[in-house]
Amino acid sequence: MANHEPTQKATIRVQRFNPDVDPKPYLATFEIDITGDTTILDALELIKGTLDGSLTFRRSCRHAICGSCAMNVNGRNMLVCNRRVNALLDRQGRVTIRPLPYLPIIKDLVVDRSSFWEQYLRVKPWLIPPATNGGPMTGEYHVLPEEVEALKMAETCIMCGACYSACQVVAMNKQYIGPHALLKAFLRVLDPRDAAPAERLANVGGEDGVFRCHTIFNCIDACPKGLDPTFAIETLRKLAQKRQAFEADRLERQKSL
């Protein structure tokens, strides 16, 4: 797309690390021309295409929906594809790009997200439908608009890892389930179609679950989608203490599904 705005200089500092060669990560500095529309991801692509082809980073959709390009820019986790460089320049006219913090670095800006996905699987992120005694489901679910509304806050998560990597508790304890998975647990627990809320609440109410959260709010501040994992965690804390009654209500509710 043609852009006729005047260009300006920007200094992009990128944390580099090649585990085969470098003893520890270091900052590399690149000078590039940007326009008002240049995103951080555009800047990285420009560096990779014209200055240093060995720069390594993840990206895919460029529409802030795939969750691949979450990085730490000027100390804050964000998706780099929907943030403009000129809005993030510091006083010295620089932008500093680092990989997501607290996760093992594979190379440059690419981190190992294994623990992120392992914790995600712990909460069984899929829907567990009511038992049909082995037969196929008949009919369809009827979910009330207000029940859908209650889940709005959680269902647009794109699994980018920004919240997980910003979480101070995750930094100190990799056994902690993490805000991303607890948000998903919240989504399933409050879904009227789900048949196992008590089991889920027992799981997230356990040793590595919601009571590990120190209510630091970094997950909310980091989320590029404006979601609220802390609210989900607080809700799960309340429900975990009355999970049997909650499941009884759920079974009653499902008779009218």
Partner: protein
Amino acid sequence: MYKTTGFISFLFRRVSGVALVLYLFMHIWVIGAANGGAEAFNARMAVLQAPLFRILEVALLTAVIYHGFDGIRLLIVHWFRVTEYRQSLFYAMFVLFVLVSIVGGVPLLLFALEGN
């Protein structure tokens, strides 16, 4: 380090919490002297009349006030789930902490400096 107001409050909460636990050991050490009679207790209390401990008393007060107010802030978050007011709650708590610390700390400090 992911520096936000949430992180700062968490750091202070941890530091003040650990400091209070350490204080508790000292407290028990002093109070425990009462088992040895009035004289032993008075002798141990005399150790604490040094200026250093008077200043530390002010530090103890600020740690208690911070930890207490931050706890109340978190209880508000837990009960009412008001995560959207996280910044305002922190600042309100911090202002209260500073005010109460001044009200309580200045007389303590004057008392420590006057030395009686």
